[in-house]
Amino acid sequence: MRRWIYLIALSLACCSAQAASSSPQPPQHGEELKITDNPVGRYGGTLALAQRSEPKTLNPVTAADAPSREVIGSLVADLIHINRSTQQTEPALAKSWSLSKDGRVFTVKLRRGTRFSDGQPFDADDVVFSFQAYLDERIHSPQRDLLIVGGKPLQVQKVDQFTVRFALAQPYAAAERIFDNIAMLPRHLLEKSYQASEFSTTWGLTTSPAAIAGLGPFCLKEYVAGQKIVLQRNPYYWKADREKNRLPYLDELVFLFVGNEDAQVIRFQAGETDVISRLSADNYALLSKEAASRGVEMFDLGPSLEYDFLTFNLNDLQARNLENIAAKQVWFQDLRFRQAVSAAIDRDSIVKLVYAGHGSSLWGNVSPSNKFWVDGALPHPPRSLERARELLKSAGFTWRPDGQLVDSHGRPVEFSIVTSTSNAQRMKMATLIQDDLSKLGMNVHVAPLEFRALLDRVFQTYDYEASIMALGGGDADPNPEMNVWLSTGGTHLWHLGESKPASGWEARLDQLMQQQMVELKYKERKRLYDQAQEIIAGNVPCIFLATPDVLVGAKKDLANFKPAILEPTTLWNVEQLYYSPENGARPGAK
């Protein structure tokens, strides 16, 4: 009889211990919590959202795809974080930092008393280990390039248990922004696999939750292959609200795998998910129609940082067997031809038909929502077929009686635009541009390709004539864009593999971008970057088309929901979200 009572008591104790393991721990003595200024919420609830494809790994250093990064974002924390709403840096695991006068030495002081989700303490040794993993060439982290300044990787040095020093090879303007999204890893769990050179394969999806620990608001609870990942509250999370309640408020975060955007929309409509982001304009309109009756609210946050553009193949094709394309490059390389194409494109229709009005036309690479860096003085010429014709005439083109455009040698102007089949918006843009350019007498052919085949042609074989692509969106600061505008950059799409700048304006652009990278004062940087934008807009290496608005939706009773333009648009403040049955009014609603 007694044995049964003991067993029952024991099992009850275990159950409550299980439940208690995910409830927030009371603040310890000596623990330096970060106090947030959000409205105080209440504990409880589960947030569910749907992902278009399954994550591939939970390893923050090797993850490259968006679904993995979305899940990992809630499991880890960084030293200095960019607040997605204000777009400025704020202290995270680092409570303060300082930059030396020459701009080369960055000293960071860590928060004391911080613990990982398994209760182990966090200190400078973990920081040094984390950077070691990120900078290790054998691991090939996609973020490694971001930590290379002036051609040399950051040098990390432990000063004492809660102070770390970083040495940069040259002064770097946005030094604090480098640390965003560089996750701090638990040395006590990962050092062994790092020494055994198995780091790249640790923390895969099937890893047991006990082997994963992080400093993010949530920790892994379970993974059901093909269905979902469930995260539960990190009981030791280092943020608390004004009333010293340890965040996050939510008990659980669930990521469902649904396959594509339409499935996401269907689940959101059915109420199975609470938040939806990266909506296309058509689906946004569909969801807005019944928003009130379904208890959800849809948000249009204004233009995103992405820019869509049409680019011509200006690569050096000498060594390759592509005479057809090389012959057409004579047209593409003429500035007046590109300007004429830009003048003939109906950007208003693109915004109206492709983005249903939820977008903005673009004439430069910086979106209007990037208030700190956009050059307001850039001209926005309206569409003009007459101006396009003038430009073509001055470039030596003429028209046959049937309207077909021919060049000075009598060859009819025709080319193809390749675009990805998986992106319906860009296919639509291609069709609209085809129609616009037919009014100039150009014979344009739309060639949809599977995404990987498209990337292969644009980046490897250069076997294409024109392409519609999109870039941008990572950060508001110009530095992540260096790869696109530097003539040696890896995403300098239209002319890859340049060992030196191909023209005078490209050399000038290189100079400006290098200068703004090391200039420490904002005003001077802005002046340099304005000049860079003017060169880009004037020489049209890419013809900028439009930028979509950021469109998201959430259940009405989700409080503290403040979606931002930077990714992750809906989950950047997940630790502050909570459920309140009273429908609180939220800013930014439309």
């Binding site: 309109a285 129609d435 052919h445």
Partner: protein, 343 residues
């Protein structure tokens, strides 16, 4: 007797569909590539007989569609002016059968109104015109492919059935290979090998070739069966005794036996091949923008919001259904007639 009226009905429907598609350039009020960027996804125009003032008009008329401000792709009629339906109007130029230039259209309305009998697509292009023009491609591809595969099947089936032996064995193994391969996946792979730029004519020929070469296997087997039984007939043995050549026997005695199978197969294969072309275009392997084809028109429905919000985008599917049912009916009746006839 009842069969005859059913057959007549089915043939009438089929003939009018084919005639409409043949005369697409004349019947369609708009150019299929003409974009009306102010009317994306405009619903079908409503034909009215009574205007706002209560007056009855003998000639039906339409009102202009204008987008509701604020609402996404919702349209209101602007009732300030009636646009009567006019017949035999001058409209966009076209080339009939690739040769005769004209700009005469069966019906139309004055600018700036549009008559969208089957609504408009995402670029404001008239769906009715696109269905007619698209039908030209889809039907032509189906008919030509059916002809090609029946010809091939007849050839192989006759030779292998008539001669037997190792010719028969190898031909039939080849037939089995064609029946078993997963063609859809092979086609998807083939697409990435094709050059980026195929002219419309090249794409069309490619479609016909692809569909025709996939489908010859089944008719070949059926015809082989008929030939096998036909060559054992007594009159065939008799003509052989009289010194008839193989060719004579095939032409005079065996081929007529296959007529029943050929006709039924034709009536079955044509709609199948039209659907095959639709499938290929739906998957992006057919003609590219802006050329219309039924598959390309139906591909718009792959997007969830189009599927639930714009019902008129289903119209090409209706045309396909009518086509298939008509041919099926013809096949049934032909089969019954020839069966009962030959017994």
């Amino acid at each position: 007797m009842r069969n005859k009226t059913k057959l007549a009905g089915a043939i009438a429907v089929l003939l009018s569909l084919h005639l409409a598609v043949f005369l697409a350039q004349f019947l369609a009020p708009c150019d299929p590539a003409e974009q009306n960027r102010d009317s994306p996804f405009a619903p079908p125009s409503r034909l009215h007989l009574v205007d706002v003032r209560g007056r009855f008009h003998l000639r039906p008329f339409v009102y202009r569609w204008v987008e509701s401000p604020g609402d996404f792709h919702q349209y209101d009629e602007v009732r300030d002016r009636e646009y009567p339906l006019r017949f035999l109007v001058r409209g966009p130029q076209y080339r009939f059968a690739g040769m005769i230039r004209s700009n005469l259209h069966l019906f139309g309305v004055d600018a700036p109104a549009q008559i969208f009998l089957a609504g408009a697509d995402g670029y404001g292009r008239d769906q009715f015109s696109r269905i007619l023009y698209g039908g030209q491609l889809s039907l032509a591809a189906g008919l030509l492919a059916a002809a090609a595969s029946l010809f091939l099947g007849l050839l192989v089936g006759c030779i292998s059935g008539f001669y037997g032996g190792w010719i028969d064995e190898s031909a039939m193994r080849l037939v089995e290979l064609f029946l078993v391969l997963p063609w859809l996946y092979l086609l998807l792979a083939v697409r990435s090998f094709l050059p980026l730029r195929l002219s419309a004519a090249q794409t069309f020929l490619l479609l016909v070739t692809v569909i025709g070469t996939i489908g010859w296997a089944r008719p070949a087997r059926l015809i082989r069966g008929v030939v096998l039984s036909a060559r054992e007939r007594t009159y065939v043995t008799a003509s052989r005794g009289f010194g008839a050549s193989d060719y004579y026997i095939l032409r005079r005695h065996v081929l007529p036996e296959t007529l029943a199978v050929l006709l039924t197969q034709a009536a079955l294969l044509i709609p199948q091949y039209v659907v095959a072309e639709v499938t290929l275009s739906f998957l992006g392997l057919g003609l590219s923008e802006p050329a219309p084809s039924w598959g390309g028109l139906l591909a718009n429905l792959q997007q969830y919001n189009v599927l639930v919000s714009y019902w008129w985008m289903f119209a090409p599917a209706l045309a396909l259904v009518i086509l298939s049912l008509g041919y099926l009916k013809v096949a049934n009746v032909v089969h019954e007639c020839l069966q009962s006839g030959s017994v």
